[in-house]
């Protein structure tokens, strides 16, 4: 048993590090996602990675992957997090991409994969519906065959960044008589199709990231169906498995801890830094220890996966990873005391007063705390993840 990196891995790490240092997109340096001005900001880092051929490390080499080992992928993810690079949006690269190269026709692969890699086609995810959240298989959006088309009707919700999306991948019901899971199909829909409309949902932090997507008699060519009709649930489960990989966010949280320590060193309490307060440092230490355990749990999962194992243990990564992310935002809010009060406006607020007082690191910190509550809800809530472990691991 050892967790040392080989000399080759260490050389690779150096290469990644210097690449990031030289190519970090200046247009978004220091900006949080809240402050992005639009599509270009979201895609700035994506385009840099695409040019380098590093946009999709998890894809097979033949479709545009890097051919890296599991360790190299891990190193790459870690270096990106340490350098605080912008996140690559998951909807194309991590979600629909793998479904397409695994289950789609050659024609579909040719049509979609290059544009996912380049970032020129922006994807969003049409899974949840108002009545179908945790119980996703109960979804009602219908697709009825009409010659070479499906006529799609229904409503999707919590659709992240749909306001920018060119295409949406949807779970739709194609058989209403079959058992729930057996009547679902996986359909790709052009957002420009007549009958598609998007309505913003503002979250409690004031941000506009999620949306409702309405599908009203949308005509979708049958050639946009992925795999077989009524087998969409299999592809959806495959995708959810992908969504969980990397969700632990260990490296990003490590970086978050460093940032927290820095600001706790800057915050004064009775003439001493807050970082000298045993009560506060105890909280940080507990968080770090949880994170360290999670890091090794992730490494064990990784080692297991590289041997071909793939298990519901991934749910541990989601549960603990999101818990740590939430506690990080909570401690940050605690650290900044009264400067947690001011509201940092978003572009869509159209407020005349854009003044935000307090140190830079306090700006938007409480909004970040509020928004991060969603991490234990989306992608399978912590309750659902526990159900998975209970059933699949413990056999209860």
């Amino acid at each position: 048993m050892n967790v040392d990196f080989t000399p080759a891995d260490q050389t690779f790490r150096k290469e990644v590090k210097s690449f990031i240092a030289e190519n970090y997109p200046q247009s978004v340096r220091g900006k949080s996602r809240n402050e992005y001005g639009g599509k270009d900001d979201f895609l700035a880092w994506h385009k840099v990675l695409h040019k380098q051929g590093w946009i999709a490390p998890s894809w097979p080499k033949q479709y545009g992957g890097t051919g890296w080992s599991a360790t190299q992928k891990y190193i790459f993810g870690e270096e990106c997090a340490l350098a605080d690079t912008p996140m690559v949006l998951p909807f194309g690269i991590a979600m629909v991409g793998p479904v397409i190269y695994t289950f789609a026709t050659e024609e579909q692969k040719k049509e979609h994969l290059p544009k996912i890699l380049s970032g020129e086609r922006w994807w969003c995810q049409g899974y949840s519906e108002p009545g179908s959240g945790s119980d996703l298989a109960s979804l009602k959006t219908s697709a009825v065959r009409d010659g070479d088309h499906y006529i799609v009707n229904g409503q999707k919700t919590w659709t992240t960044l749909a306001q920018y999306a060119d295409w949406i991948f949807c779970l739709v019901r194609t058989d209403t008589k079959a058992k729930q899971q057996e009547g679902i199909s996986f359909l790709l829909i052009d957002m420009k199709s007549p009958g598609v409309s998007v309505r913003p949902i503002i979250t409690m932090d004031g941000a506009h990231e999620v949306n409702e997507v309405f599908l009203d008699n949308v005509r979708v060519p049958v050639k946009n169906l992925i795999g077989k009709e009524n087998e969409g649930w299999t592809y959806a489960k495959f995708l959810l498995g992908h969504e969980r990989a990397g969700i632990a966010g260990v490296a990003r949280s490590k970086r978050g801890v460093e940032r927290l320590k820095k600001l706790a060193a800057a915050e004064q309490d009775g003439g001493k830094p807050l970082l000298a307060d045993p009560m506060f440092t105890r909280n940080i230490a507990e968080l770090q220890i949880d994170l360290l355990s999670l890091e090794f749990t992730e490494l064990r999962t990784l080692a297991n996966e590289s041997k071909g194992g793939h298990g519901p243990e991934a749910s541990i990564l989601k549960i603990k990873g999101t818990d740590i992310q939430q506690r990080l935002t909570e401690l940050t809010l605690e650290a900044i005391a009264y400067y947690g009060n001011p509201y940092r406006p978003f572009a869509h607020d159209k407020m005349t007063n854009e003044y935000v007082p307090g140190p830079d690191y306090s700006h938007g910190a409480s909004q970040n705390y509020f928004l991060t509550r969603r991490t234990t809800i989306y992608g399978g809530s912590s309750e659902i993840q526990r159900n998975i472990i209970a059933k699949m691991v413990l056999g209860l």
Binding site: I202, G270, Y338, P342, G358
Partner: protein, 376 residues
Amino acid sequence: MDFSFTEEQTLLRNSVQKFVQNDYTFDNRRSIVKSDTGWSHKDWMKFAELGLLGAPFSEDQGGLGGGPIETMIIMEEFGRGIVIEPYLGTVVLAGGFLRHAGSKAQQEKFIPEIVEGKRVFAFAFAEPQGRYNLADLNVTAKKSGAGYTLNGHKAVVIGAPWADSLIVTARTAGGQRDEKGISVFVVDKKAKGVSCRDYPTVDGLRASEVTFENVSLGTDALVGQADNGLPLIERVVDEGIAALSAEAIGGMKVLNDATVEYCKTRKQFGVPIGKFQVLQHRMVDMFMNYEQSVSITYMVTLKLNESETERKKAASAAKVQIGKAGRFIGQNAVQLHGGMGMTDELNVGHYFKRLTMIDTMFGNVDHHLKRYASLD
């Protein structure tokens, strides 16, 4: 032993409850928060009409002659509606300073104005470097001639954009963190040298960064004893903590009721999600957190006029319980509402945000754990 309310107290509760239910609906609150001024002067005058602005003042002063219990009742009902108007800053805090330590002239001038809704106050005590330490003051009031000259920066002064006057804590002697040498002043916001930069807060209120540049104050601006203001400040802040605790339990109750109702109606996997035992137990924990918070709110309310040490311990104990329970209930109300709990549209997030900010106000859980331990 008796935890029942008098007939007058029940009538008071009913009248505030009726106002919140009929006039201060969630939609009305939303439009008030989004309005240019961010508060409703009309509702403020309604408070005056209902006698709420005079609740803690004696009948001689035009008030209702109420005490801590009346304040608790009003704040709890306001908490149910997450009322944003500056009752805490004006009636509880400024009112407290004036009642406990105001000169006859100050009381005669300001109390009737408060009672009639003609003067709004904000309490300027926090400073950028001071965290929750009420004695960590860089704002100075230097003796000059017959009065004082005020200089410095007060941070996150809640309600200052709406205020006519500020209650300001300032250092009149000693070093930055000395407990002695602190004084309290009442300052007209329009006075020369006072400037405010206003902004909205995450819980729908408005606040200001207030700077004082050579503001001239007469001796009549001093509230209470010169150089010995800290005991007074601590007393009023402890009363503010009791009021905030009452506001918090009002909000917690709304969140718990909404969550139980939602879990009874939201169906997944063919059954209401409230049928799942893991969620039932969570809601039981939320309920217990609420009940414990109600208890400690009664406790602190009844101990506000006991010895200084008893009062301080009670206030810190309440602030710890309220902070922890507010966090647990707020976070789980959001979690159990799922995506809907995250939205701006539903009221749940707004109560969660207010409870979060109540934890910060006058010191968070960690701060009051330490204060309690140091007094015990």
